[in-house]
Symmetry: C2
Subunit: 277 residues, 2 copies
Amino acid sequence: MSQSLDNKKYAPVGVFDSGVGGLTVAREIMRQLPGERIVYFGDTARVPYGSKSRETIIRYSRQICRFLQDKGVKAIVVACNTASAFALEQVSLEFPLPIIGVVEPGAKVAALATRNGHIGVIGTEGTIGSQIYTKTIHVYRPGAEVVGKPCPLLVPLVEEGWLKDSVTIEVAQRYLSAFQESDIDTLIMGCTHYPLLRSTLQRILGDRVNLVNPAYETAQELKALLTEHGICNDGGKDEAGLQYQFYVSDAAEKFKSFANSILPCEIEEAQLIHIDE
Amino acid sequence: MSQSLDNKKYAPVGVFDSGVGGLTVAREIMRQLPGERIVYFGDTARVPYGSKSRETIIRYSRQICRFLQDKGVKAIVVACNTASAFALEQVSLEFPLPIIGVVEPGAKVAALATRNGHIGVIGTEGTIGSQIYTKTIHVYRPGAEVVGKPCPLLVPLVEEGWLKDSVTIEVAQRYLSAFQESDIDTLIMGCTHYPLLRSTLQRILGDRVNLVNPAYETAQELKALLTEHGICNDGGKDEAGLQYQFYVSDAAEKFKSFANSILPCEIEEAQLIHIDE
């Protein structure tokens, strides 16, 4: 192996999201690729992304990719569905790094998993409005019936910590009633916050509907990508000391406490940076 | 009157908020000061402010005041409770313009209006956490009992348009139950979104509790301030053509449509600008 590839192998993976949601993706990477180092950025000053325009999301994603590139990452995971929907194509063109999003992996597994070809997708206004899940599912399963439903209140409810609350159940029931006539057997949780509501969603939908968490599939795809490029880290060399580094654009303490409630490891610090400067 | 004062008299008033909430303040200014021109800025790319830190809110407010100053405004109204709580003092020091917020007017009227001295305040996490309403009320009514309650879900519910929905009633009931033991007779709607929920809040609290909308008092204070400086515009000279100008940092069409649903006039355009550049 060349010196250059060897250096790359030990470089961290960059992961970013509008805030804490992408931690569900970072968690899967930690579980499935325990040798990899991670630099995580959460854009907590500008959260949420779900109601913002394509142009704004591209501009923000570009700033973040530049930051991660400066941190020497070997690949980037766009761990936010809205940013994957709006900005992945553009930043992939602009940066000389392998970059993957969460939409393609989630769409692919749903297309392969459905038995009756009826798939539901829940996500932010941006993600659902972009129709990206429908388009990507049709690549893998032409003719699948895909029904999308924006659920703007689910992110604030998760952020409020009302994960199994009667209000959350009522709101989720109302959103999910959009699928009543579609006979879906598969539902994509198309926002990285939603896996935290998995048990609530499953109870409403019943066992017949299979819930897809794109975070799991994204970690699988990252593994395949790093292997393909010959830059997988088996954990043999941990030169930098800290395996996981966290950066945020605001409210570092709050982020740290949320992260420590869902990650398999303890975060010691989340560093504050001004991403727009 | 000097030429300089005369020029100032016909200059517009700057009004800003994290997004659409401040339109409830702009609406009051339009009603109470029909001769004034307004330049409104809504920071729709970075909304909401309520969960962000003091440092970030000061940075954002500074950028916006600079923009409004460049537009030649004669005074600025910080039409956002969180920005009033965190940034008003700082930007007042930095900019050579009269600047007022929404907290002082609301706190003052509540302090004068309460009969039993028990006042409730609802607002964002930032506003309530800052204790600014309590401190300001005590200036006008030392010894008043002030109980604050952050209501983070009310803004997303308003943005979703669920103004009289059963879910909104349930969420509001839960938040307002914080006041059950305090025997409040006055409640400050300490977030510019909340006046849109006035009838829902009033129904839950009953007629015995007086709801204070700081927007109304803020327009009154603006009038007093402009009169004091001798720069009130009686509408006698409308040199610039457009009386009301609207700028946003994202999603101009969505803003325009919301604005047209609550303002007494029709907006023709909301212009998109990059406030962080």
